[in-house]
């Protein structure tokens, strides 16, 4: 942008246009002039018409034809005389044929130029698509990161008494495994950060990298006594839940030991900070 700023007192439109053109060239990558396009087209055409690239020797034969004796000299007698008499007519026909051939040649040549142009355009479009898809990927990743961040935006209350409960043996046989939870120190750090945006964004990124499934018997593992299910039922009945009550956050909180809160009343606290 800096090179396109102008001073109010001295405006040189031609200079601005040069800057705009150079910017366009930068954006588009290498740009082809009309001459370059013609060269490209002719090069491709030669390549196509090159007999070494083809099995046929048609081109060579065509070139040699110019050295051959004329049609009349190959014949003798009456036939030759007849041909010479018909020369004006034949010449006219030949002219017509040649003009047709020239026309076809020109059409083919123009087609090759157009195809080359389309090829260049196609290349540019491919580059654009690549650029757009990388941008889209980035946006998606960012979106996912931000979606994950909302799990930690609610402040969690610390309830140490929940930690004292020993894990139940049935926990190991619970069929529905909750989603993986973050390790305890990270959750604690996230909870301590409370509503700060930076920590809210940073926590899930760390979580994403370090998340491991909670093992039965560890803190944060789901209980097998059905208390987790009771907790879910209660929370679903509660209207007007916050973001933390969304299905995503609920599963996460259960996995992170939030089910403990459900065992001890309806205070609604998630267990993310119950470490």
């Amino acid at each position: 942008m800096s090179d396109l700023n102008v001073k109010s007192d001295s405006i040189d439109v031609e200079q601005i246009m040069k800057q705009i053109r150079s910017r366009i060239r930068e954006k588009r990558g290498s740009d082809y002039t009309e001459t370059e396009l013609q060269q490209l087209a002719s090069a491709k055409f030669e390549q196509f018409a090159d007999p070494s690239g083809l099995r046929s020797d048609l081109l060579e034969q065509f070139r040699k034809r110019g050295d051959e004796p004329s049609t009349y000299h190959r014949h003798r007698g009456v036939r030759r005389w007849l041909l010479m008499m018909l020369h004006p007519v034949l010449k006219r026909v030949q002219k017509q044929v040649m003009s047709d051939l020239n026309l076809y040649f020109e059409i083919i040549h123009n087609l090759v130029i157009e195809v080359t142009k389309l090829g260049v355009e196609n290349h540019n479009l491919k580059m654009k698509v690549e650029s757009l898809s990388s941008r889209l990927d980035f946006d998606e990743r960012r979106g996912r990161a931000l979606e994950g961040a909302v799990q930690y935006r609610q402040p969690r209350q610390h309830q140490p008494q929940h930690q004292a409960q020993p894990p139940q043996p049935q926990q190991q046989h619970r069929p529905a495994a909750p989603p993986p939870a973050a390790p305890a120190p990270i959750q604690a750090a996230a909870a301590a950060a409370t509503t700060q945006v930076i920590s809210a964004v940073a926590a899930p990124l760390v979580q994403g990298e370090q998340t491991a499934p909670a093992q039965p018997g560890q803190e944060g593992a789901p209980r097998g006594d059905g208390s987790g299910r009771r907790r879910r039922r209660r929370r679903r009945r509660r209207p007007g839940s916050a973001l933390a009550d969304s299905p995503n956050a609920q599963g996460s909180s259960e996995g992170a030991g939030g089910n403990d809160a459900g065992d001890h009343g309806d205070n609604g606290d998630d267990g993310a900070a119950d470490q």
Partner: protein, 426 residues
């Protein structure tokens, strides 16, 4: 001093470029001299049908005399003749037939000029390419002041016009590019000056009123003029589509003028139709930038009006005149392809780095060259000079009836290609 302004159409509601130009000049010169307008009864330039009443009337203090058109223009015939002359070798006879088919053919108007030539000091003819100007200059060459309003189209390459250009006593050009073109075409060396025309710019505009009245909430670029393929509007629509795709939050496009071309259905294109002068100026004032896509312009008054209101312009670089004006004034950018169009429009947004600066330069350029005191003074100086100096250029004799039938004229388009092109930078 008594002046006659001779123009193909005239009226307060006729908004064609040359016709409006003629009206403004007639009304302004009427403050300094006795002015009469000699014109036809036509309103429609495509047919020259006699629609307006014959006789005299007064429009904004200027006496207007209207004469009937004897033959309407036949569109297909004129198209055939044009193609033949532009693309094939032909004779002067063919060109004269072309001129008659173009019109507006009004022998009564020419008779009036011939009969009353001594009553007027000067005849100011508008638009060199029409029947009335060609034959009128031939009738009164020593009193003929020509305002050619020439564009770079194949008509300039025709053979009948160079003698007529040379015969005119003086020429009031619209731009330096037009002067270079016509002098190269005719080898003329007589009096001439680049004048152009001003506009009736309101002292105060109300852009907010216009925005509210039309429900325009987003910033927009405006096009004012006939929405026609000849004005480059199809290319404008194509380019704007691509701009809208590349710059999703960029400018909308507002079109003002009569529709002669299908307008694409696009959420960011609005057509407001024909609007009043007040609305037109308010629209320009409310816009971020004015776009002028026409490849053929001899001046573009609306471009000057945008500059007068401090708005930058984005013009078609294929038009030498517009491009030259932008370069000389520093009041706008030009484009030659879609990439330049998108970049240019992006740069000229009001929130961009250069739109306001270019608008200021355009405004200064307008007041320096196209404000009414400057224009009037140039006309008066030229008329005084002509009154002082003796006429030295007699009318050139036309070729005889046989000589004019020889097909010696090359295709007009080929002649045009040999004439100098490009903007005049200084």
């Amino acid at each position: 001093m008594k002046l006659a302004v001779v123009v193909q159409r005239y009226g307060a509601d006729i908004s064609g470029g040359a016709e409006l130009h003629a009206r403004y000049i007639a009304e302004r010169l009427a403050r300094h001299a006795q002015v009469e307008v000699l014109t036809t009864r036509a309103r429609d330039y495509e047919t020259w049908r006699n629609e307006l009443p014959a006789g005299d009337e007064t429009i904004n203090g200027v006496v207007v005399r209207r004469f009937p058109v004897s033959r309407q223009r036949h569109r297909i015939e004129f198209g055939h003749r044009s193609r033949f002359i532009f693309e094939h070798a032909h004779s002067l006879h063919h060109e004269l037939r072309w001129l008659a088919s173009e019109g507006p053919r009004s022998p009564a108007l020419l008779r009036h000029i011939a009969q009353r030539r001594n009553e007027f000091d000067f005849f100011i003819f508008f638009s060199f390419r029409y029947y009335h100007a060609y034959h009128g200059v031939g009738l009164v060459p020593s009193k003929a002041v020509l305002v050619p309003t020439a564009e770079r189209d194949p008509v300039v390459g025709m053979g009948i016009f160079p003698p007529m250009i040379r015969s005119a006593r003086a020429i009031m050009y619209n731009s330096p590019e037009e002067r270079v073109l016509l002098e190269a075409m005719s080898q003329r060396r007589g009096p001439g000056v680049v004048v152009g025309v001003g506009s009736e710019i309101p002292a105060r505009t109300q852009p907010d009123r216009f925005r509210k009245a039309r429900g325009l909430k987003r910033p927009f670029a405006v096009y004012v003029g006939r929405i026609d393929i000849n004005k480059g509007c199809r290319e404008l629509f194509d380019y704007f589509h691509q701009y809208a795709a590349r710059v999703p939050n960029g400018l909308d496009l507002v079109l003002i003028g009569s529709k002669h071309l299908e307008i694409p259905n696009h959420p960011r294109i609005r057509h407001l139709g024909f609007v009043s002068d007040e609305d037109k100026f308010d629209a320009i004032a409310a816009s971020d930038v004015l776009i002028m896509p026409s490849p053929y312009e001899s001046l573009s008054m609306v471009t000057l009006e945008a500059w007068a209101l401090g708005r930058p312009v984005l013009v078609n670089g294929a038009c030498d005149v517009l491009r030259g004006q932008c370069v000389r004034s520093g009041g706008g950018l030009y484009y030659e392809n879609v990439d330049e169009f998108c970049e240019g429009l992006f740069r000229l947004e009001a929130s961009g780095p250069m739109g306001a600066a270019l608008g200021r330069h355009g405004r200064a350029y307008y007041y320096r060259h196209y404000s009414w005191p400057v224009i009037e003074q140039k006309y008066l100086n030229m008329l005084e000079r002509l009154a002082r100096e003796p006429a030295v250029s007699p009318a050139e004799p036309a070729p005889g009836l046989i000589a004019r039938r020889f097909r010696t004229r090359p295709p007009a388009a080929d002649v045009l290609a040999t004439l100098p092109s490009g903007p005049v930078v200084r």
